[in-house]
Amino acid sequence: MSEREVDQQLVDRAQRGDKHAFELLVAKYQRRLLRLISRFVRDSVEVEDVTQEAFIKAYRALPTFRGESAFYTWLYRIGINTAKNHLQALKRRTPTTTIFDAEESEGFEDAGLLHEVSTPENELMSKQVVNVVNSSLQELPDDLRTALTLREIEELSYEEIAAAMNCPVGTVRSRIFRAREAIATNLRPLLGTSKDKRW
């Protein structure tokens, strides 16, 4: 089952009344949608509000989603439209004259070009999270770090990683999990409990 198929599986479940399945999609795509919307909306509080609104709109529109495009493409389109409607309502101009479509938005990866207006507290927390993840990655044994890097940064499949590292697919799966778990162990004290979890 590919990533897209997992998304579709979650959509199917949500369409059958499983709200939790939709929340798994929210957990997966929230930061990507926040990043996208922050290209249109300057204020960080508004970015969060618009993103929430976009997710709620997507939830309400789920019965119309037929799976002909990828879920994230559809979600990003809703995000862009919600951001534009928000700006129209505020009688503001978009921060850029470039027209983005959903496909371009998905491919947009250059964080350096994003303007991220955030509160000092959020920025500090964000930097701490990034530092912990990056330093934890560096501390990993070579085989775990390589497997996770090939997966997350190069976006290779397990089979491709197995070929690159000359090991069975099962070993790749185990290494990636152990790498994630090692980083997560270092992150958890920073993230807090589920009640007050903001990250």
């Binding site: 199917d12 798994l24 990507r32 929430q52 709620i56 964000s126 997350e152 990636i176 992150l187």
Partner: protein, 163 residues
């Protein structure tokens, strides 16, 4: 189970295992947190020097106020449509093949007849020299135009017609 969550987010689980893991994620809030944390790690590694806060708690609260969706299985109808389209394409392909085979059958016969009248002139050959004659002239045989047919088959048939 955590390893399954990790594989699920990479799209590397078989269907049954994926279903089972999704059920477990629904039942167990701790597993839901694992899903969130692994995705946070993924987002940091893939995208950003600066990551956004988690807004899923706010969305969770808003979702509770939303009516539960119970929509018909749109994918099933989608699949049915694809099935109908592929069935129609198969019928078209079969029809085309049948039509082509009929065309080949009706077009080659006159060709053979015409070429026979031009090329197979010398009819008064001694019976014992027939084989040599056929072998020597087989490249002129009209049967070469008939795809997949051994050359000697049609040539012999045409000789019989002349006699």
């Amino acid at each position: 189970m955590k390893q399954e969550i990790s594989a699920l987010m990479d799209g590397e689980l078989f269907d049954d295992d994926a279903e089972e893991t999704l059920d477990e994620l629904k039942r167990n809030p701790d597993k839901h947190e694992e899903w969130q944390t692994y995705h946070l790690i993924s987002d940091v590694l893939r995208q950003s020097e600066n990551v956004h806060a988690n807004i899923s708690i706010n969305i969770h609260e808003r979702l509770q106020a939303e009516p539960t969706i119970l929509s018909p299985r749109t994918r099933a109808s989608h699949n049915a449509r694809w099935f109908a389209l592929s069935a129609a394409a198969s019928v078209m392909a079969l029809t085309l093949v049948a039509w082509l085979s009929v065309q080949v059958g009706t077009e080659t016969a006159p060709q053979i007849a015409m070429q026979q009248s031009n090329t197979v002139r010398p009819a008064n050959l001694p019976a014992n020299g027939l084989d040599d004659y056929l072998m020597a002239h087989q490249e002129l045989s009209p049967s070469l135009n008939v795809h997949g047919m051994p050359t000697y088959v049609s040539t012999v048939a045409s000789q019989q017609e002349d006699q």
